[in-house]
């Protein structure tokens, strides 16, 4: 069996142990800057709306999207009247979803990435298969760097699947021309939420 022979060869050939580097110096003591986060998301081709109540979402969607037949909203408060019963099935049932509005756990200012897990989206393929994606993130949940993200928020996995999403799906495979909407969501909207004091 190859397992044993591979492991034996590795054991025989691996160099001496060297200590892991300390990563603390890369951490940022201050929290992330929502304005910086917004700038990066926009540079990646996403759009960001600052909201102070979920009730603003509905009007913004009506204003910025056309031809939405099927919309999935993870929380009813995001968009009253969105599709129901969408969770049942192996994922293929979501083929015709035009827009999914999902919560993000936190965002990262340095690269515009938002952390999303299976726990929130319920069906893993949802944020990818939907034609358009909208993510609701609280402005207080913007972290400075990826180091802060892993050490503060996701040091341990809390679900079977988690993903950082930064901007809409894209490709530049044809002569390095940037095209949004390769296989995943064609657009990304972030609702950056700061509740009224």
């Amino acid at each position: 069996m190859s397992r044993e022979s591979i492991l034996a060869a590795i054991k025989n050939n691996q160099p001496d142990h060297q200590a892991l580097p300390d990563l603390d110096a890369f951490r940022r003591p201050d929290t992330g800057d929502p304005a910086a986060f917004k700038k990066v998301v926009e540079a990646l081709g996403g759009q960001v709306f600052e909201i102070s109540s979920y009730t603003e979402i509905q009007a913004l969607i009506a204003e910025h999207y056309t031809d939405l037949n099927k919309v999935v909203a993870i929380q009813d408060s995001y968009l009253p009247g969105a599709a129901t019963q969408w969770e049942t099935g192996d994922g293929r049932q979501l083929e015709d979803v035009d827009l999914a509005i999902i919560p993000g756990q936190f965002g990262v200012a340095e690269n515009g990435a938002i952390w999303i897990t299976e726990n929130e989206v319920k069906v893993r393929v949802l944020p990818f298969i939907t034609q358009h994606l909208a993510v609701v993130v609280a402005a207080k949940d913007i972290l400075a760097t990826m180091h802060d993200a892993y050490e503060e928020r996701i040091a341990r996995p809390e679900s079977g699947f988690g993903v950082f999403i930064a901007g809409p799906s894209k490709t530049a495979d044809i002569e390095q021309s940037l095209v949004l909407g390769a296989h995943g969501a064609k657009s990304l909207t972030v609702f950056l939420y700061t509740p009224k004091p």
Binding site: S5, N111, Y150, I174, H183, G184
Partner: protein, 458 residues
């Protein structure tokens, strides 16, 4: 035995037959190098990050045995099935068997340089299974029946008009339409059908975390996720060197990977696959294929630190002007040239010489692999093992005789300069590769040594 393909120098010469195209290829990749520079400069701690990444990988090399066992245990606890493959053939056999168990004849695959290294597609094809590559660039080269020419930008060598023609032929797009936006939309439609139908999805792996048993896959297109989340069976194929110790180390690597590769702050999707979704099978194939041997080569083991960002290709002045296919290996460019001789020293004996040893590759490498120094060392090993060309060896021996004996050197130099002055055609002819596109230096009457003797008498 004769080589079945031309060597790098000849393939590069073919590539250079069309100079405007070489210029286009060079400029396109240089533009990506510039994007990488720009974003690296936006991170003041960039060099420290590279150092940290290199040291994490060094720790991995020294503890790979234990980390692999830890990863296997955690992955199994997470519900994955772990397979071990000693070489490409075993890897292909394992994958085939899984596909046959499912009874599928067609399946989707996202980008995996490992499966390219193992030549999985042709193997499955021989067994009646069609693989649909879903990364747009990979799909394009697949339709063109070519291998990828770059590990991150598989069809960087193709013009959009050529892609338009391919799509017209295979996907029925209108003839003459070469608009990237239009072609991408056509591919999106075509591949969505494949994603929906496919019951098995193969993905590569960028990082596998020993501590958690999870795998991280990075794409911009979302194709790995579309495939893996819709399939009943997800097969993840990875080289054993993809292991990293802890989850927090992803912070370092995800900061470096996309910035080094394309100058983006991060890929659109960095997906952390830990356990299979309900009702799904998750298979992980751990592949050695020479990696444990490379681990034992002290001078070359650092090549296993590679995170496949492709920065060394984008910066390499030779790669940019010879094209990925001139390396006749799944992984082209400087990193390919130090990995390939470990797989087959005779077959790839030419690659470590396809470099000027300028050192730019080592400087952009996010894990600080001493690429150009390894190229130099491979040259020594290849020569010692007897894979140098006979004509080259004879020339080098002659050179050594001249250069290590001052008397002979003095005579030879004087005679050489005299010959060049008196019979320029002896040197300046078609047999002399220097002279083909360059003039020879004008031979002076006296050498510096002669001048010195006359002008600084003791």
């Amino acid at each position: 035995m004769e080589h079945q393909h031309k060597e790098h120098a000849l393939l590069a010469e073919d590539f250079n037959a069309n100079e405007p195209r070489v210029n286009w290829h060079d400029e396109t990749l240089w533009w990506i190098r510039q994007k990488r520079d720009k974003i690296a400069w936006s991170i003041p701690e960039w060099e420290e990050l590279r150092e940290a990444a290199s040291r994490i990988k060094h720790n991995v090399l020294g503890n790979l045995h234990d980390y692999l066992l830890e990863f296997e245990r955690k992955a199994q606890e997470n519900g994955a099935i772990v397979h071990w493959a000693a070489d490409a053939a075993e890897h292909n056999k394992i994958v085939l068997q899984l596909l046959q168990e499912q009874g599928v004849k067609r399946m989707v695959k996202s980008k995996s340089m490992l499966t390219e290294e193992c030549h999985l597609n042709p193997y499955l094809d021989e067994h009646g299974i069609e693989v649909i590559d879903t990364d747009l660039g990979e799909r394009i080269v697949q339709l063109a029946k070519e291998p990828p020419s770059h590990i991150v930008l598989p069809c960087i060598h193709k013009k959009k008009e050529e892609i338009g023609e391919l799509f017209h032929e295979h996907l029925g797009t209108p003839a003459g339409n070469a608009d990237p936006k239009f072609l991408t939309a056509a591919a999106r439609q075509h591949l969505r059908k494949e994603f929906i139908q496919s019951r098995v999805a193969i993905t590569g792996v960028n990082f596998a975390v020993a501590e958690t048993g999870e795998m991280v896959v990075c794409t911009n297109e979302g194709n790995a996720d579309m495939g893996a989340h819709l399939a009943d069976v997800h097969i993840a194929c990875m080289g054993i060197e993809k292991i990293i110790p802890q989850r927090k180390h992803l912070g370092v690597f995800l900061r470096l990977l996309a910035r080094s590769a394309t100058g983006q702050p991060i890929t659109t999707y960095s997906s952390h696959f830990r356990s299979p979704k309900a009702g799904q099978q998750l298979h992980i194939v751990l592949v050695d294929n020479g990696r444990s041997r490379q681990l034992g080569r002290e001078d070359f083991r650092n090549s296993l630190k590679c995170i496949r960002c492709g920065a060394c290709m984008n910066t390499c002045p030779v790669y940019r002007r010879s094209g990925g296919h001139s390396y006749h290996n799944a992984i082209a460019g400087p990193i390919g040239a130090i990995l390939a001789p470990n797989l087959d020293m005779k077959e790839y004996a030419d690659l470590p010489f396809a470099s000027t040893l300028c050192g730019s590759c080592s400087n952009v490498c996010p894990v600080k692999i001493d690429i150009h120094q390894q190229l130099y060392k491979w040259r020594q090993v290849i020569t010692q093992e007897g894979y140098a060309k006979k004509t080259k060896a004879a020339g080098m021996h002659a050179m050594n005789i001249v250069l290590s004996k001052p008397g002979i050197y003095k005579t030879a130099g004087g005679v050489g300069r005299w010959v060049m002055r008196t019979f320029p055609a002896v040197v300046n002819n078609g047999m002399n590769p220097w002279f083909k596109q360059r003039e020879m230096p004008a031979p002076p009457k006296q050498s510096f040594a002669d001048w010195y003797k006359k002008n600084r008498p003791e």
